[in-house]
């Protein structure tokens, strides 16, 4: 393996990989493990990477590591329902502060919860599209599905998010 090339081309995408893993898996530790595993695999297959952007390639490996991890613990629930009580507690614990900061915190909690409530295949396309700005072809390649499936998943995911966030949109 060509170490400088690997460090130059792949390691800049570590944050993107971690963000994807953290959104797909349930804890920081799981996400870290999945990214570590993905880096090992990436080093192994680095010779097969062609010229160009290594980000979709690396995200694809991270994605597969995450789904393997999910497969290993299939018995646990995959989505987290929005926890109203916990949310209220968090907001209360935040205590009095500038109105703006409190509001910002509430919006973040709502948006995160709505995204978490999506099933992993839907969550995955949203994260890749909205956070990583990848085009449909790249997302299709990463998720291993046809472009049409990516589009239909995106539109289903958006529909669900719109419903969950109806009161927030436009702010």
């Amino acid at each position: 393996m060509n170490r400088p090339a690997f460090e130059h081309r792949v390691l800049p995408h570590l944050d993107a990989g971690y963000n994807l893993a953290r959104w797909l898996l349930r804890s920081d530790a799981q996400a870290e493990d999945a990214v570590q595993e993905a880096v090992l695999r990436a080093m192994r297959y680095f010779a097969s990477l062609r010229e160009g952007d290594a980000r979709p390639w690396f995200l694809g490996i991270v994605r597969n590591a995450c789904f393997s991890a999910m497969e290993r613990q299939r018995h646990a629930p995959e989505t987290l329902e929005f926890d109203e009580e916990g949310f209220a507690r968090d907001v209360a614990a935040a205590g009095p502060g500038p109105e703006g900061a409190l509001h910002e915190q509430q919006v973040r909690a709502r948006v995160d919860a709505a995204l978490r409530a999506l099933s992993p295949p839907l969550r995955e396309v949203v994260v890749l599209r909205e956070f990583e700005d990848l085009d449909y072809a790249a997302i299709a390649h990463i998720a291993g599905v046809p472009v049409g499936t990516v589009m239909s998943r995106l539109s289903r995911a958006r529909e669900k998010l719109r419903q969950a966030l109806a009161t927030l949109e436009g702010r």
């Binding site: 170490r3 959104w23 570590q36 880096v39 010779a47 948006v111 909205e130 589009m151 539109s155 998010l161």
Partner: protein, 235 residues
């Protein structure tokens, strides 16, 4: 066809949490990369075919390969593997073969010595607890009095150094002994054997294996096994 939803995108991009790799992950990954580079000095960008086997060898067999011992190592490993795979099969077959005469001998001995049961009861709720502390597992106990197999009681037999729970049933003037002990997990459908004129039926469910020994007719012993399996499956 699928226009992006601007407002929703804006909401997600501005407000959803963007997770950032923690420093520990950065450090861990850099260590991994450095280690990997040390493991493969001077390989450079040379492409290589990463077959499953080369990867395996890379991981586990590097030392053998370096010392030029891969052939000998392989042969030795293959031999070990064959032995490891064959031994349990051979052992299982041998055990089954050696077991039947013993089981029949215990059955005959129990009949002769009038030591058929140590706990005399037709109530399975008496027999089952009796095994507690006498064997290190909990054998299921059923009564089939309605079908003509009356539970007579239970006893302990010693087979190959282990205490084995034994249930005795009466069928008319005949006695059926059922030896029960933990199985290796693989279910087995009933198999017939005849040993010195006695009928022997062996089967196993996920948890226990069973050997029924009796001088009743084969069809009746079959019926007994079938009743038992139905009842055990319904538990």
């Amino acid at each position: 066809m699928n226009p992006d939803d601007k407002a929703l995108s804006e909401l997600l991009r501005r407000h959803a949490t963007r997770h950032v790799a923690p420093p520990s992950l950065h450090a861990g990954v850099r260590t991994q990369v450095a280690l990997q580079a040390l493991r493969q000095p001077q390989e450079g960008a040379k492409s290589r075919r990463w077959t499953r086997w080369t990867r395996w060898r890379e991981r586990f067999g590097a030392r053998w390969a370096l010392a030029g011992w891969s052939g000998a190592g392989l042969g030795f490993g293959a031999g070990l593997l064959c032995a490891a795979l064959a031994l349990p099969l051979w052992q299982a077959g041998w055990q089954a073969w050696a077991l039947q005469p013993q089981l029949v001998a215990r059955h005959v001995h129990a009949l002769q010595a009038q030591a058929l049961v140590d706990v005399v009861s037709s109530d399975r709720h008496t027999v089952k607890p009796w095994f507690q502390g006498r064997v290190d597992y909990a054998p299921p106990v059923f009564d089939f009095a309605e079908q003509g197999f009356v539970l007579a009681g239970g006893r302990i037999e010693h087979l190959r150094g282990s205490a084995v729970a034994t249930l005795a049933y009466r069928r008319d003037r005949h006695v059926i002994d059922l030896y029960v002990w933990p199985a290796d997990g693989a279910p087995r459908t009933p198999e017939h054997h005849v040993e010195r004129g006695f009928n022997v039926v062996h089967w196993a469910d996920g948890a226990m294996q069973y050997w029924a020994v009796s001088d009743v007719e084969r069809a009746q012993l079959d019926q007994f096994a079938a009743l038992w399996r139905v009842r055990a499956a319904a538990q």
